[in-house]
């Protein structure tokens, strides 16, 4: 099959778009940001600051406080002070604060989207159309629960837990902050939020929004910093609830630290999702689903469809279509509105992707990458499809967290299930077939918290999300997303 790019090279026609960069004028960055503790912006007692880098240019955007143990102490103390009044507030009043946050996010959506893209490298069309709207929706959804908690769990009376220590990753910085803060606030908890080291800026802007919303001081505190800051939040004796999204390795360490303390924990960890394509699928739609599944957000997605399982009878045609589609993906300036793949989030992450790519080659898998020019500066990785992959290869077992797809084949539905479930993870899975009974048969058997059938990477605040097995426990979204923040007491008969 002739790719569009080849046709173009032959001079038949041109599909290159003119540059369409989003203006950054809407964002005004200070040279340095402090911590948001007890409703005030305070310099870190540690005295330390970290640079936040634009991964698309390697330019330092600004400096951000690196909170130490004393700073975490202060944040937890501020939260603890704020908790009794916040928990005692009638639900309908708490709801209005959370609604205010949702509305401000919508009103300042462009600013948030541009800042997210500057700080994290994701394409502006994703931050604009996915991250920011979903974050606002999340606050809006949970705001409405604040005064309806008595209906959340039949037969139970519910109470907030206290101080929630929340540690979030760099792949969806604002959205993960929303997933953590919204249910915690609605249920009457107070928060100490620790954004990721490489992407703190939208969480800091969100703290400004909380401030403007008039949220009582100490109800939301934001402590920026590195891994040690996160560890201090998790281990702090004044924290009643730990919520973590990130790697399985760190998640296990957190579960171990928290053991025996009585803290309630939820973990949303890694994944190695199978995206299963049957011969009776609508193949062109499936190819779009494969692309979305692995290249959305540069593959920096815990639920990414990173293992393609394609039925042998259609493997060749699916791979041809997929490779042709890859040549049309636009890699480059994340601020350009036509960009499909932006920058890799950090130099360290680029190194990890490269290392696993090299392992794939060394173990005998065959990589395919479309030709595409990459910018001179910044961190980039071409969209990659590995064929000739076996189940024992590292690229079929380990989470790459980058735009790298491993392709395996199967003959029968039973084999597809066995291969899909052959992983310690269990966050998500995809199924593509036009046969309804096969979808439900597969959905029953796939060991994953989310099954996308004839679609992929859909998220909604009303829809519970979370893992099986080593992908973690607890759900975010829906009524189920309230439970991690509640103490449940039985109503006596």
């Amino acid at each position: 099959m002739t790719s569009r790019r080849e046709v173009e090279r032959q001079g038949a026609f041109s599909v290159e778009y003119a540059p369409a960069p989003e203006s950054t004028a809407i964002v005004s960055l200070a040279p340095r940001y402090d911590l948001y503790i007890g409703g005030r912006w305070v310099a870190p007692r540690s005295g330390a600051y970290l640079p936040s880098v634009n991964p698309a240019t390697e330019d330092v955007l600004c400096e951000v406080a690196h909170a130490g143990d004393d700073d975490v102490d202060a944040a937890v103390a501020a939260a603890r002070d704020a908790w009794p009044a916040w928990a005692a507030l009638p639900g309908k009043e708490r709801a209005k604060y959370v609604y205010r946050i949702a509305r401000q996010l919508q009103e300042r959506s462009r600013e948030f989207a541009v800042l997210e893209t500057l700080d994290g490298g994701k394409p502006i069309k994703e931050s604009r159309d996915v991250d920011v709207p979903l974050a606002a929706a999340h606050f809006f959804y949970y705001a409405g629960w604040a005064d309806k908690l008595e209906y959340a769990l039949p037969g139970a009376r519910v109470h907030p837990l206290g101080v929630a220590g929340q540690v979030i990753p760099w792949n969806f910085p604002l959205l993960m902050a929303a997933w953590k803060l919204a249910p915690a606030l609605a249920t009457g908890n107070v928060c100490v939020l620790k954004p990721a080291e490489t992407t703190p800026l939208t969480a800091l802007l969100l703290a400004r929004v909380c401030e403007e919303a008039g949220l009582p001081p100490g109800v939301v505190n934001v402590v920026t910093g590195g891994p040690a800051t996160g560890a201090a939040v998790v281990a702090h004796p004044g924290v009643d609830k730990v919520a973590f999204t990130g790697s399985t390795t760190v998640g296990k360490a957190i579960q171990k630290v928290v053991a025996g303390t009585g803290k309630k924990v939820t973990l949303e960890l890694g994944g190695k999702a199978a995206n299963v394509i049957f011969e009776d699928a609508a193949l062109d739609q499936a190819v779009e689903g494969i692309v979305n599944g692995i290249f959305f957000n540069q593959g920096h997605v815990c639920c990414a469809g990173s293992r393609l399982l394609v039925q042998e009878s259609v493997a060749d045609v699916v791979l041809d279509k997929l490779k042709a589609r890859l040549t049309t993906l636009r890699v480059g300036d994340p601020l350009d509105k036509n960009t499909d793949l932006g920058a890799i989030n950090s130099e360290a992450q680029l190194g990890r992707i490269q290392q696993l790519y090299d392992a794939g080659v060394a173990e005998g898998a065959e990589p395919y990458q479309p030709e595409c020019a990459l910018p001179d500066r910044g961190y980039w990785f071409r969209p990659t499809v590995f064929t000739n992959v076996s189940q024992s290869h590292r690229i079929a077992r380990e989470e790459i967290f980058g735009p790298v797809l491993s392709v395996l084949t199967f003959r029968t539905p039973e084999e597809a299930v066995a291969k899909a479930n052959n992983t310690p993870y269990g966050l998500s899975a995809g199924v593509w077939t036009e046969k309804g009974s096969k979808i439900l048969w597969m959905a029953d058997r796939l060991r994953a918290g989310v099954v996308w059938a004839n679609t992929f990477n859909r998220f909604d605040p009303a829809s519970p999300f979370g893992g099986f097995q080593e992908s973690g426990f607890g759900r975010e979204g829906g009524a189920a997303g309230l439970l991690p923040y509640l103490k449940v007491e039985k109503i006596p008969a």
């Binding site: 053991a259 025996g260 909604d460 519970p464 979370g466 097995q469 426990f473």
Partner: protein
Amino acid sequence: MTERLPVRKTYKLFVDGAFPRSESGRTYPILAADGSTLAWAVRASRKDLRDAVRAARGAQPKWASSTAYLRGQVLYRVAEMMEGRAAQLADELAATGAAGATAEVDAAIDRWVWYAGWADKIAHVAGTVNAVAGPYFDFTVPEPVGVVGIVTPDEPALLGFASLVAPAVCAGNAVVVLASETNPLVVMTLAEILATSDLPAGVVNILTGSKAELGPWLAGHGDVDTIDLTGAPADVGVEMERLAADDVKRVVRPLGSAPDWQDGAQSPWAVTASMELKTVWHPKGA
């Protein structure tokens, strides 16, 4: 004329529907209220525990895929058979000095009936259809986590067992249970009831012995998905919780220092504690 000599019972383990002794050959004495020896119970080994987990893993998929109606009937059948042997259960409870033995047996049977009825209803309270902002049918269903390791309390031996095991099994899990250390006798009689009920072999496996010894092995076993620490001594529970982190096991912690077994222990959330939520999306379109 000489008085008839009673036939005493040898208490063993309950694994994969059979009653093996420990491969280790170890036993320990069970004492009556007056300190005399009532019987010798098996002190299970690590190998026995591995056998029990293997049996549970093998039995679980079929149990989970049987209809909820069938699972409800099987559990109800267990309660029927408990009722028939209520006097024996009460005698064995009383023998180790448990107060209110008859009331405990009654409550245990009632609890079993209560959970039997949840098998085909738990999805009503834990499952949802989700109003997502787009043209998708999106629903969430509870599914059994798989293999659950349960530490039951020493007291109440029978009611504690029923309150923790019935919800996990009702959910479609297979279980490995550490019985009351001080009175496993009544629990092993319940095992005879389970063995002759319609419960498939391997769905419930019961080990007797030292919780301090068996608990960490259970928590460290890579083929156990959830551990329930309700009946674990505090220090053992902490160690188990730490071990559970090695493969991100779900941990059910005791509700409080002294759970209210009479009423507070009975809840649909005890069923969902050993379940996962699975969300399924499908586009709507002509």
